[in-house]
Structure formats: structure tokens, C-alpha cells
């Protein structure tokens, strides 16, 4: 690359915004990706990293703002095919290979330029050279069916596929958590290739939760928070601690802080006394984690009447942990589950609200195997009143409710059951603020009555309602501390990997 293009922006985003319904995923983002640089993108859950990369890749359209590529403005119709034509490639976090196809066939899906009579030979050659270049000693044949490959090998294929240039050079590659399922040696191969690629004049956007990876591989790092880019600096200006700090300066730190304080007094005190008395008579739920660096993985412990918070980046094993607890306790019938992903694991959209509420308590509501309608209606009406579910009648179908009210029904379902342990899988996703407040109060009241809650949440503020917090990383709780020690910096620094342990 010649000298003057080196400093010029390859892609410039100017005041870009994107919303999903009420939620503003990106607001007013201005960012430049230069030629020949590796730009790091870092931030906590929901900071807008994925939205930003989807916009760059053309899989999401932007609502407002402008985007230019090599000085040329990109129109409203910028989409995947144009992105491909410009040499923009993207490796998404969720694996996007077709498991039923072979490696070389998957190459064609992403690189339709490979065609003609010899396309198989061509795709195989491209893929092999790309894999050899990035991951020497990879042991993957282009004829292998993807379903037969290990998860790490699949990720290698996907990364190598993004770097195969057919007609025109690859200008910009976006890697979202590329090392998440690679072992240390292979991850290192990738990172050194990243540097070689960038020095050859290519541009790269790297998203990773491993801080040292970011610090060593990136030229600049952009820190995102709540849909904003809050800081862009040279990677050499950052240290591990200053990066965590930059991510943690929430938009309204005073508000968060006061939230913690106010709840400390209202929640922690009554439950603390409760757990003292009941803890002796009622053994706490203890979950030993199966494996891992045994020295510092805490035992997750939930006493009666406690609210246990599970924190950490999304998809680091919190839901799997809840599932494990659910499965192990299900036989006793003493556990209830509140789904966060309402549509797929929560509601029966065509059933009535009453039926949706009663489904886990049917044993108590039936006689001789037949459901007693009066009892169901009585329960439904009682909980409609208690939770403040806004509907003219509980006989209406579940689908007629708004998202927030559907979530209240799911809470009523769990609280109405006789369970004394209630698991919550990030239940406040896409719920409005008013509903949240009502539900928080309810949870605290129920905990004061002696019910135990295990609450996975992706929102930091919700942790301030918990008595004890465990931070998850790579499928395990890596740290646990009481509410009094809760700080955003602590959650962040445990969520992001300290170092690659060999």
C-alpha cells in the first residue's frame, strides 16, 4: 500500500444509528476503519458490537447516517452482495457453515465467483492454500463434510473461507470472537496471521473478549457502550485495567451507584437475617462445578430466601448452568423456570392466559385427572391482579398480550407453582421499564417469604437486586462475591479473560 492510502479511511461511518423497536442498538456512531489496520471492538453485552458488524457486512441496514467505502458513499441498498463485491467479509460468531455440505462446497456458498466446470478443483485449491496460510498443520481436507469436523475445525474453515480472494482482493474482514472455540496454539496461529494480513494492507475488525488478544493484535481499539462508541485510542495507550475501566464507565454511573446503595439496605438486610435462621434448618443448594482450574472456581451456593445473580458475557454457560440445576431438581417438583426467550421456550401463544399460567400447577388444580376450571380461573384472576397483567380477560389468548405482560404471565406461572427454587434465564429481555420495576419488587417480596431465586441477567443494574453474584466465563463461574462487593469493574474484569493459560 502506498503511503497516502495508509492513513486514509477504508470505511467511514458517519452518525450511524440503528434501532430494533424501542431499543436503540446503535446511536450516532462515527468510526473510521483505516487501510492496513486492525481495529479492535470491545464492549459488554448489548453494547452494539454485533449490530455494528452486521451493518458493515451488509446484513443489517442502517436507519440513519452515512457510510462510505474508499471514499465512495454507500447507498441505502447496501447489502450482502455489494459488500462481497467490495471485498468485505465477515465471520459471524454463530457458526454459519452448512453442516450438510463439504468444506469446498461451503466455500462456493460464500464465494459464488468460483464457478465453471472446474469449480470444485478451484474451490479446493483456494481453500487449501488459505487454510495452509493461516493454520499450518490444520489437517482439514476440502472434501470433508462439515458435520464431521470438530467445532474448532469448523471455525478454522469459516475463518479461512473469509480470507479466500477470488476475483478481487479481500479488503476488510470482520472477525467476531474468532478464537472462542480454537485451542491456544491455533488461536496464536490466527493472531499472527492477522498481523501479516494487516501489514499486507488489509483491514480487519476484531471483536474478542480476551483482553490480551485485543491489546496485542489491534492497532486501535474502539470501546462501545450502550450503542455508542465512547472511546477510540491506540492499543498501546491501553492497559488491561484501563480497557476494563473504559468499558465500565456507564453512561449514568451515579444512577447505577445509587441503585446499588438503595437496594443494599432494602434487600440484603431482611434476607441476611432470614438465611441465618433458615439456613440452619434447610441445607442450601450447592452446585459443584464439574471441571476447570479447580483452585479458583467457586462452589455456587444458594440459601433459602436468597437471590443469586449469574453475570458475565452472554453465552458463557449461564443458561446451561440453569438447565443443569433444573434437570437435577425436576423430579422433586420443587423448581420453576422463567424463560427469557419467551417465544421459543416460554409461552403457548394460542392458549388462553389462564391456561398459560396454570400449566405448571395442574396437579393442585385437578381432581381425578380432570382440570377444575373454577380453580384455574380463580388462580388466574388472583395472579392477574397481583402481577397487574393488563388484559380485559384471562380467557384471552396469550398472543394478544404485549411482551412485558407475557413475561408477567410467565412469572405468575413460576410463582404460582409450589416451587421454592425459581430459576430465571435473563427474563427481562425486551421488557419495558415499568414492568421491570413491578417484577423486581415482586421478586424481592417472594424472596423475603423464603423462596430462592437464581437469576441470570445480562443487565448490570439487575445484579444490584441480588444477594450474591457469580460471574461466568467459558462455561464456568470464575468468581463469586456478595452484593456489598459488587462493582461494574469487578464484573467486567472477571467476564473478560485475563490471560491465555497454557
Amino acid at each position: 500500500m502506498s503511503q497516502h492510502t495508509h492513513t486514509q479511511g477504508l470505511v467511514e461511518l458517519c452518525h450511524v444509528s440503528r434501532s430494533f423497536g424501542q431499543v436503540k442498538a446503535l446511536s450516532n456512531v462515527t468510526l473510521t476503519i483505516r487501510r492496513g489496520e486492525c481495529l479492535g471492538l470491545i464492549g459488554h453485552n448489548g453494547a452494539g458490537k454485533s449490530t455494528l458488524m452486521n451493518i458493515l457486512a451488509g446484513t443489517l441496514a442502517l436507519d440513519e447516517g452515512d457510510m462510505t467505502f474508499a471514499g465512495q458513499p454507500l447507498g441505502q441498498d447496501y447489502a450482502v452482495n455489494q459488500a462481497r463485491a467490495l471485498g468485505v467479509r465477515c465471520v459471524f460468531q454463530e457458526l454459519s457453515l452448512c453442516p450438510n455440505l463439504s468444506v469446498l462446497e461451503n466455500t462456493h456458498i460464500a464465494c459464488p465467483e468460483i464457478r465453471g466446470w472446474q469449480w470444485r478443483k478451484q474451490a479446493a485449491a483456494q481453500m487449501t492454500s488459505s487454510l495452509d496460510q493461516i493454520f499450518p498443520g490444520h489437517g482439514i481436507k476440502p472434501q470433508h463434510i462439515v458435520a464431521d469436523l470438530s467445532i474448532g475445525q469448523r471455525q478454522m474453515v469459516e475463518i479461512a473461507r473469509a480470507f479466500t480472494a477470488v476475483d478481487r482482493p479481500v479488503e476488510l474482514v470482520i472477525l467476531d470472537e474468532p478464537t472462542s472455540s480454537l485451542d491456544a496454539r491455533v488461536a496464536q496461529q490466527l493472531l499472527s496471521f492477522v498481523r501479516r494480513f494487516v501489514e499486507g494492507g488489509g483491514s480487519l475488525v476484531l471483536i474478542s473478549h480476551i483482553l490480551d488478544e485485543m491489546l496485542s493484535s489491534c492497532d486501535r481499539i474502539a470501546v462501545m457502550q450502550d450503542g455508542h462508541v465512547v472511546e477510540v485510542r491506540q492499543a498501546t495507550d491501553y492497559t488491561r485495567d484501563s480497557l476494563v475501566e473504559a468499558m465500565g464507565h456507564a453512561a449514568s454511573p451515579t444512577h447505577t451507584q445509587s441503585d446499588v446503595r438503595s437496594n443494599e439496605s432494602s434487600v440484603a438486610d431482611p434476607t441476611a437475617s432470614e438465611s441465618m435462621t433458615s439456613g440452619a434448618s434447610n441445607a442450601p443448594l450447592r452446585v459443584h462445578q464439574a471441571s476447570g482450574p479447580a483452585a479458583h472456581t467457586p462452589v455456587i451456593e444458594a440459601r433459602q430466601g436468597q437471590i443469586i445473580g449469574l453475570a458475565g458475557l452472554a453465552g458463557h454457560g449461564q443458561s446451561a448452568f440453569l438447565n443443569k440445576v433444573l434437570m437435577s431438581r425436576q423430579g422433586a417438583g420443587q423448581v420453576a423456570f422463567v424463560a427469557g426467550d419467551r417465544q421459543t421456550e416460554g409461552i403457548f401463544p394460542l392458549w388462553s392466559i389462564a391456561e398459560n399460567m396454570a400449566i405448571t400447577s395442574l396437579k393442585g388444580l385437578s381432581q381425578y385427572g380432570l382440570i377444575e376450571r373454577q380453580k384455574v380461573m380463580a388462580m388466574a384472576n388472583q395472579w392477574q391482579h397481583e402481577m397487574g397483567i393488563r388484559t380485559p380477560s384471562v380467557q384471552n389468548p396469550m398472543g394478544s398480550l404485549s411482551g412485558g405482560n407475557q413475561q408477567k404471565v410467565l412469572f405468575a406461572r413460576a410463582l404460582g407453582a409450589s416451587a421454592d427454587l425459581i430459576l430465571m434465564d435473563d427474563p427481562m429481555r425486551g421488557v419495558d421499564v415499568g414492568t421491570k420495576r413491578e417484577v423486581y419488587e415482586r421478586i424481592q417480596a417472594e424472596a423475603a417469604k423464603g423462596r430462592t431465586f437464581i437469576w441470570y441477567t445480562t443487565e448490570f443494574e439487575e445484579l444490584s437486586y441480588c444477594d450474591h453474584i457469580y460471574v461466568f466465563r467459558d462455561g464456568q463461574a470464575v468468581e463469586g462475591f456478595p452484593l456489598s462487593e459488587l462493582s461494574e469493574a469487578r464484573v467486567l474484569s472477571s467476564s473478560f479473560e485475563e490471560d491465555v493459560v497454557c
Binding site: 457458526l95 457453515l97 452448512c98 455440505l101 456458498i109 459464488p112 463434510i145 501489514e199 496485542s216 491465555v500
Partner: protein, 349 residues
């Protein structure tokens, strides 16, 4: 072992990074990532691929042992007489299964095509040909409807099966009609050495294999069944994929109907009703799966032949026709059990 620092400074990093990569790959054991020998990972796939051919061979051997006279040009011709239309129907079904749908109207559709061929195509060739083309168009439209409205294909095609049946009865209220002469001669060509049914099956299997497995179009179509989101993110139109596959299903359905009426020389409105289930069974017997875009054209044709020969075998061992459908079902279950066994072996190794 890991040198994070080496890639931090940008000027010298290229050489040092590649040097560190070289040392790390030379110090680590030189095994491939697969861990076990190359061929072992492919045993289950190999078993699965060979299973349709294996079951067909077994069936043929059983028939030849029971009835040595079947091992002749004439015998094979007689047994496989109706194999080609069933193989074509199986391929049509396979096109729909490739995108995770199921076509429950195929039997009724082929019956309708047979009725068109035995009436209009004979008396007004141009109108008949146009009607058949329109049939393919309707299939493509069905694909578009299912995709755009996100309807379950099973429901749509179940509804269509009544439409096709009704239309067939309107066209040919009582069995009759007659196939065009050219069609009759075409399907009764005497090929040298091996009967036409076998030649046609081989050609069909190879052509569809080229189309669906070897070509780039086939890769995109199967990819749409394998991971629709990923394919869409790569810029492939799922709408086009589904419409194309349904249109292909229509084409092969029409061919099946034509072939059938050429062989039987006349038609009736319910002539191919059992083809719906036979075609599904053929695809599954051949190694295809209901979801995931896993289809095998050669296997599907072998599966269809297996189903046809199973009928012959059952007659040879004097099982009453009443029991034959049940026995065919039993064969299907046995083959599926064998496949599960092959998968288990794969999971263990």
C-alpha cells in the same frame, strides 16, 4: 509457550510472528487435528452411502436365489417395469425434501398428469403440452406461496392433493383414455444387453447427481436446506432456492406421470395415489433425511428400485398382496434401523 509480545510491535512483527508460528508448530506433536487415522472418521459416512446399494444387492440376491429365472433380460424387465416412474417420483419428492419440506400431493399430482397425458396430450398435443408446462408453473408458485407466507408445506400440499385429485376426476371420470403413441413407443424401447428400466434409472441417477451434488446450483440449493440463515447471509436468495426446487419437483412429477401412462397405456384418476408415500420412503431409504438438506440422488433412485423389488420378492415368497404393503413397511423399518446402527458405530469411533 505462547509469545504474545512478539506481535505487538508492528515493524518487526511479520518475521517474528511467523518465526513463532514455525517454532510452535515444530515443537508441538505433528499429529493432524483429527487425532485418529484419516479413514476412520469416514466409516459412518461410507456405511451410510453404501447402505442403499447394499440393501438393493441383498434383495436382488434373494430374488435370484428364490427365482433363478428372474436373472435374465426378460425377468428384470418384468420386475422393474414400473420402477422408472417411481424413481422419477422419488426424485421429485427429494427436491422438496432438500429444503426441509414434504410434498403430500405428489401422488395426486402424478395421477393428474397421467390423466392429462391420456386425454388432452393425445387429442390436442399442443394444449396438452401447455397444460403440463402450467403444472410445473403451479409447482413453482406453490414454492413461492409457501416461502412468502411462511406456510407449512405439509398443509399446503395436503390441500393441493385434493385439488389435483378433483381435477383428475373432472378430466377422466372413469378409467380410460389412451397414451399418445410416441409415448408408448418411447417407454418400450428395447435396449441391448440391459433392460430400458435399468438404463433409464442409471441415467436419471447420474443426471440428478450432476445437477444436485456436483453443480454449483445444487450446492446452493442444498445449502439452503442445511443452514438457511448462513446461506442468506452469503447473499443467496432463499426465495429463489425454494421456487427452483419446487419447479424441479414439478418437472420430475410430470415426467413420472408421462412415463407411467406410457407404460400402462391408459389412466385413471387414482392411478398413482400410493406414489406419495412410496416416494418419501424411497428418499429416506436412499440415505436422505427429512431435515438438514441431506439428500442423495443416486441413493434415492436405488431406494425406489429397492421398494419396487421388495414387492416382487414378496410375491415370490408367496405373501398375499394384502400383506405386501405391511411387509414393505417392515423392510423400510429394518433399513432405517440399520442406518441408525451405522450412525451409532460412527458416534463410537
Amino acid at each position: 509457550m505462547l509469545s504474545q509480545r512478539s506481535i505487538l510491535s508492528s515493524s518487526s512483527s511479520s518475521s517474528s510472528a511467523s518465526a513463532s508460528a514455525a517454532t510452535s508448530s515444530s515443537t508441538s506433536p505433528p499429529t493432524s487435528l483429527v487425532g485418529s487415522p484419516e479413514w476412520r472418521a469416514h466409516i459412518p459416512r461410507l456405511l451410510r452411502t453404501l447402505l442403499p446399494a447394499f440393501s438393493l444387492t441383498l434383495l436382488l440376491l434373494a430374488i435370484f436365489v428364490m427365482q433363478p429365472r428372474a436373472m435374465s433380460y426378460f425377468g428384470l424387465n418384468l420386475m422393474l417395469n414400473l420402477a422408472v416412474p417411481i424413481a422419477l417420483a422419488t426424485i421429485a419428492q427429494m427436491m422438496v425434501i432438500a429444503i426441509n419440506d414434504l410434498d403430500l400431493s405428489l401422488g395426486a399430482f402424478i395421477s393428474f398428469v397421467a390423466c392429462v397425458a391420456a386425454t388432452w396430450l393425445n387429442t390436442h398435443p399442443v394444449a396438452g403440452a401447455l397444460a403440463l408446462l402450467a403444472c410445473v408453473g403451479i409447482y413453482a408458485l406453490l414454492g413461492a406461496l409457501i416461502h412468502l407466507r411462511q406456510l407449512p408445506a405439509i398443509v399446503v400440499t395436503l390441500g393441493m392433493s385434493f385439488v389435483w385429485s378433483g381435477a383428475a376426476i373432472l378430466l377422466l371420470p372413469s378409467p380410460g383414455g389412451s397414451a399418445p403413441d410416441w409415448l408408448r413407443t418411447l417407454v418400450s424401447i428395447k435396449t441391448p444387453w440391459v433392460p430400458l428400466a435399468i438404463v433409464a434409472s442409471v441415467v436419471l441417477a447420474l443426471l440428478v447427481h450432476l445437477l444436485m451434488v456436483r453443480s454449483t446450483l445444487g450446492v446452493r440449493l442444498r445449502g439452503a436446506g442445511g443452514n438457511a440463515q448462513a446461506v442468506a447471509k452469503s447473499g443467496v436468495s432463499l426465495f429463489k432456492a425454494r421456487v427452483t426446487l419446487y419447479a424441479f419437483a414439478g418437472v420430475f412429477g410430470v415426467l413420472a406421470g408421462l412415463c407411467l401412462v406410457g407404460l400402462t397405456t391408459s389412466a385413471d384418476a387414482g392411478i398413482a395415489m400410493r406414489y406419495t408415500l412410496l416416494s418419501i420412503a424411497g428418499v429416506i431409504l436412499g440415505g436422505g433425511e427429512f431435515v438438514g438438506g441431506r439428500i442423495a440422488p443416486i441413493g434415492a433412485v436405488l431406494g425406489a428400485l429397492t421398494l419396487v423389488l421388495a414387492g416382487s420378492l414378496l410375491s415370490f415368497i408367496h405373501i398375499a398382496p394384502d400383506w405386501q404393503i405391511g411387509a414393505q413397511g417392515a423392510i423400510l423399518i429394518i433399513v432405517l434401523a440399520l442406518r441408525t446402527l451405522a450412525n451409532r458405530i460412527g458416534a463410537r469411533s
